[in-house]
C-alpha cells in the first residue's frame, strides 16, 4: 500500500505544471535528437546536462528532463529506421529488418503507429515493473555493506563484458580504461595526487561533463565527417496512418512477451536495449515458425524489438535508482548528472528523497503517454526533420558542446582536455572498442575504489571480507559464470562449425 501512496506522491510531482512542461519539452527534443542520424540517446542526454544545470532546474525536474529525453530518443530512433533504413543506434538495427520493408510496401504509416504503440506498451510494462520491484530491491539493498557493493560493481562490469557478444576482451579493456581515468586527480583518502603530471587542471580529476561530451560529442562529430549527407530522402509515410484493431490484436501477444523480456534485460547490468531487441526478435521469429514473414514486413517483427527496446530503457532505471549502479551508457550519464547535484543514488535515496525517485517513476508513465499522443499526429512533421543536412547540424552541436564544457569551470583547459578525450574516443571507436563501456567504468570508478578500500579497512586488510557473506559468495558465483560465458559460447560455435563442415 505504501508503494501506491508514494506513487500518488510521485504523480503530484510529475504532474506539476513545471515538470509537465519539462517532460513535454524533453520528449520533443528527445524525439528530434533520436531522429537525426548518428545521434542517439547518450548524445542527447549528455548535451542536455549542461543546459539543465544552466537553467538551474531542481534535481527532480532535471532528472525528469533527462529521462524524457532518453525515452524520446528511443522513440525517434525508430522513425529513421523505418523510413530511411538507417538505424540511429545499435538497438534500432532490429527495427529496420521488418520496419523498412513495410514502409516500402506503402505501409509506412501503419508501421510507425504500430511501433509507437509497441513502444508505449513496452514502456508501460517496464514502468509497472519498476514501480513494483524498485522499492523491494532498495529495501533489500539497504543491508549491503561496502564489500557487497564492490562485488556488485565487479559483477556489473563482468556482465557487461560477458554479454558484449563477439568482443568481450575489448569491452573489458574499455571498462578498465574508464576505471583508470577515474583515478586521475587527488586521492580522497590520502591526499596523494595521482596521474596529474603536475597539471593543476587535472588535480580535481577529469570532470564528468568533459569526459562525456568528449567521448560522445567530439568523437561523434569526427565520425559524422565520414557520413556527411545533404539531407536524406525518406520513404513517404503514405496511406493509412493508424493501425486498425485487427492489426493491434495481431501483435498484442508479441507486445506482452517482448515487454517482459525487455524489462528483464534492462534490469540486468550491461545487457541493455541492443541485446533485448535482438533476443526478442529472434524468439518471436522462432515462435512464429514458417508462417511468419519475418524479414519482409511482418508486423510482429516490428513490434517485438520496439517493445523490448523501450521496456529495457525503462527497466534500466532500476539498478540506477536502487543500487546507484547504471546498467547502460545512458543511465550512466544520468547517474553522473545526479552526482552533479550532490545526490548519490542508492537504496537510501528511496528513504531520503522519495520525491525524486517517485517523481521520476511517475514521469516515466507521463512521458510514455505524451509520446504516443504526440507521435501519431506529428509523424509528418518529424519526417521533415530527417531532411536537415549535417552542415547545419554539426557546427551547432560543436558550439553547444563547447559552451557546456566551458560552463563547468570557466577554463579553456577543459576544452582542450575534451578535444583530447574526443580524439582518443574516436580512435577507440575506429578500433571497435565500445565507448559506453568506458563511460560506465569511469562512473563506477570512484565508487568501486572507495568501497573496496572501505571494505578492507573494516576487515583491517583481510581480503577474506570479499567472501564473507552469502551475498558476496553468490555474486562471486555469478561473476565466474559470466566470465565463463564467452568461452562457452566460442566453444559451442566452434563445435557447430566443425559439425557443419563434417
Amino acid at each position: 500500500m505504501d508503494t501506491l501512496s508514494y506513487l500518488g506522491q510521485g504523480f503530484d510531482v510529475a504532474l506539476s505544471p513545471n515538470n509537465l512542461v519539462t517532460a513535454l519539452a524533453g520528449t520533443t527534443i528527445g524525439t528530434i535528437v533520436g531522429l537525426l542520424p548518428g545521434l542517439g540517446p547518450i548524445n542527447g542526454v549528455a548535451l542536455l546536462i549542461p543546459v539543465a544545470f544552466a537553467l538551474g532546474l531542481p534535481p527532480e525536474t532535471a532528472l525528469i528532463l533527462l529521462a524524457s529525453v532518453y525515452l524520446g530518443c528511443e522513440y525517434g530512433g525508430r522513425i529513421s529506421s523505418i523510413l530511411l533504413n538507417i538505424p540511429g543506434e545499435a538497438s534500432a538495427v532490429m527495427t529496420t529488418l521488418d520496419g523498412h520493408p513495410l514502409a516500402k510496401q506503402g505501409k509506412g504509416g501503419i508501421a510507425l503507429s504500430i511501433s509507437a504503440w509497441s513502444s508505449f506498451i513496452g514502456g508501460l510494462i517496464a514502468t509497472i515493473g519498476v514501480t513494483i520491484f524498485a522499492p523491494l530491491l532498495a529495501k533489500w539493498a539497504v543491508s549491503f555493506g561496502p564489500a557487497e557493493y564492490f562485488m556488485l560493481m565487479v559483477f556489473a562490469i563482468v556482465c557487461l563484458a560477458g554479454m558484449a557478444g563477439d568482443k568481450p576482451i575489448k569491452t573489458a579493456v574499455a571498462v578498465l580504461i574508464g576505471l583508470m581515468l577515474a583515478c586521475v586527480g587527488i586521492d580522497a583518502n590520502s591526499g596523494v595526487y595521482r596521474f596529474t603530471f603536475g597539471s593543476l587542471g587535472l588535480a580535481d580529476g577529469i570532470q564528468f561533463v568533459v569526459l562525456v561530451l568528449g567521448l560522445f560529442s567530439v568523437s561523434e562529430i569526427l565520425m559524422l565527417l565520414e557520413r556527411t549527407h545533404q539531407g536524406q530522402v525518406a520513404v513517404k509515410a503514405s496511406g493509412r496512418m493508424l493501425f486498425n484493431l485487427k492489426e493491434g490484436a495481431f501483435v498484442l501477444a508479441t507486445n506482452l512477451r517482448s515487454g517482459v523480456l525487455g524489462f528483464i534485460f534492462g534490469v540486468l547490468p550491461g545487457a541493455g536495449a541492443t541485446l533485448a531487441s535482438a533476443v526478442s526478435y529472434m524468439s518471436e521469429k522462432r515462435l512464429a515458425g514458417d508462417k511468419g514473414r519475418f524479414g519482409d514486413g511482418d508486423l510482429r517483427g516490428l513490434a517485438a524489438p520496439e517493445t523490448a527496446n523501450s521496456a529495457s530503457a525503462c527497466g534500466s532505471m532500476i539498478p540506477m535508482l536502487t543500487l546507484g549502479i547504471p546498467g547502460s551508457g545512458t543511465t550512466a550519464v544520468m547517474l553522473g548528472a545526479l552526482t552533479l547535484y550532490n545526490i548519490t543514488p542508492g537504496p537510501l535515496l528511496f528513504q531520503h528523497q522519495p520525491d525524486i525517485v517517485w517523481g521520476l517513476i511517475a514521469s516515466l508513465f507521463v512521458a510514455n503517454i505524451i509520446l504516443i499522443v504526440m507521435n501519431v499526429p506529428l509523424i509528418k512533421v518529424f519526417t521533415r526533420i530527417l531532411a536537415v543536412p549535417s552542415w547545419t547540424l554539426v557546427p551547432a552541436i560543436a558550439i553547444i558542446t563547447s559552451i557546456g564544457v566551458y560552463a563547468v569551470h570557466a577554463t579553456t583547459f577543459d576544452l582542450f582536455l575534451m578535444i583530447a578525450i574526443g580524439l582518443f574516443g574516436y580512435l577507440l571507436r575506429k578500433l571497435d572498442f565500445p565507448l559506453s563501456a568506458l563511460l560506465l567504468g569511469f562512473i563506477l570508478g570512484h565508487m568501486m575504489e572507495s568501497n573496496l578500500r572501505r571494505a578492507l579497512s573494516i576487515s583491517n586488510g583481510d581480503l577474506g571480507i570479499l567472501f564473507s557473506s552469502p551475498i558476496t559468495i553468490g555474486l562471486w558465483v555469478l561473476v565466474a559464470a559470466m566470465v565463463a560465458l564467452p568461452f562457452w559460447r566460442r566453444y559451442r560455435s566452434k563445435r557447430s562449425a566443425a559439425l557443419a563442415s563434417a
Partner: protein, 152 residues
C-alpha cells in the same frame, strides 16, 4: 589488424609507464590498510593483461568491422576538423565567444559541405544567437573578448 596490434602495443607501453609512476604513490601517513597505490596498480595489471591478449591474438576480437577504413582524404578532413576544434578552444577566451564561434561555425559548415552563403548566415545566427541564449537567457557567463567594449 596492424592498427589493432599497434594500439595494443601502445596501450601496453602506457600501462608500463603509468605503473612505474603509480609505484611511487605512497601516503605520507595512513589511517587505512590500503593506500593510494594498490588499486591503480591492480587496474593497470588487468589492463596490461588485456592489451597483451589483443597484441598476441588480435584476430580473436576483430570480426568484420563496421567502420570504414580511414582513407587519405578522410584523414585530411579529420585533421582539419581537429584543427578547427583546437582553434575554438584556443581563441575562446582571447577573441571572445561571438567572433570565435562565427569563424568556427563557418569553417565547420564548409567542411561538412555547406555552400558559402548559407554557411555564413548559419555561422552568424549561431554565434550571436547562442551567445544571447546562453549568456543572457540561461545565465551561463561566456567571454566577450574583443567585443567587451560593446558590453551593455
Amino acid at each position: 589488424m596492424l592498427y589493432q596490434r599497434l594500439f595494443a602495443a601502445s596501450l601496453l607501453l602506457a600501462c608500463l609507464c603509468l605503473g612505474f609512476i603509480a609505484w611511487g604513490y605512497q601516503a605520507p601517513f595512513s589511517y587505512e590498510p590500503v593506500g593510494p597505490r594498490a588499486y591503480p596498480l591492480m587496474l593497470l595489471i588487468l589492463l596490461a593483461l588485456g592489451a597483451l591478449v589483443l597484441l598476441v591474438k588480435p584476430a580473436m576480437e576483430s570480426s568484420e568491422s563496421d567502420e570504414p577504413a580511414l582513407t587519405r582524404p578522410m584523414l585530411i578532413k579529420a585533421a582539419i576538423c581537429l584543427g578547427l576544434l583546437l582553434a575554438l578552444a584556443a581563441l575562446f577566451e582571447r577573441l571572445g565567444f561571438i567572433p570565435t564561434s562565427i569563424l568556427f561555425a563557418l569553417g565547420m559548415a564548409r567542411l561538412f559541405g555547406g555552400r558559402w552563403l548559407p554557411s555564413a548566415v548559419l555561422a552568424l545566427v549561431l554565434g550571436v544567437g547562442l551567445y544571447f541564449l546562453f549568456d543572457r537567457v540561461l545565465e551561463v557567463p561566456l567571454p566577450l573578448g574583443v567585443l567587451s567594449a560593446l558590453e551593455i
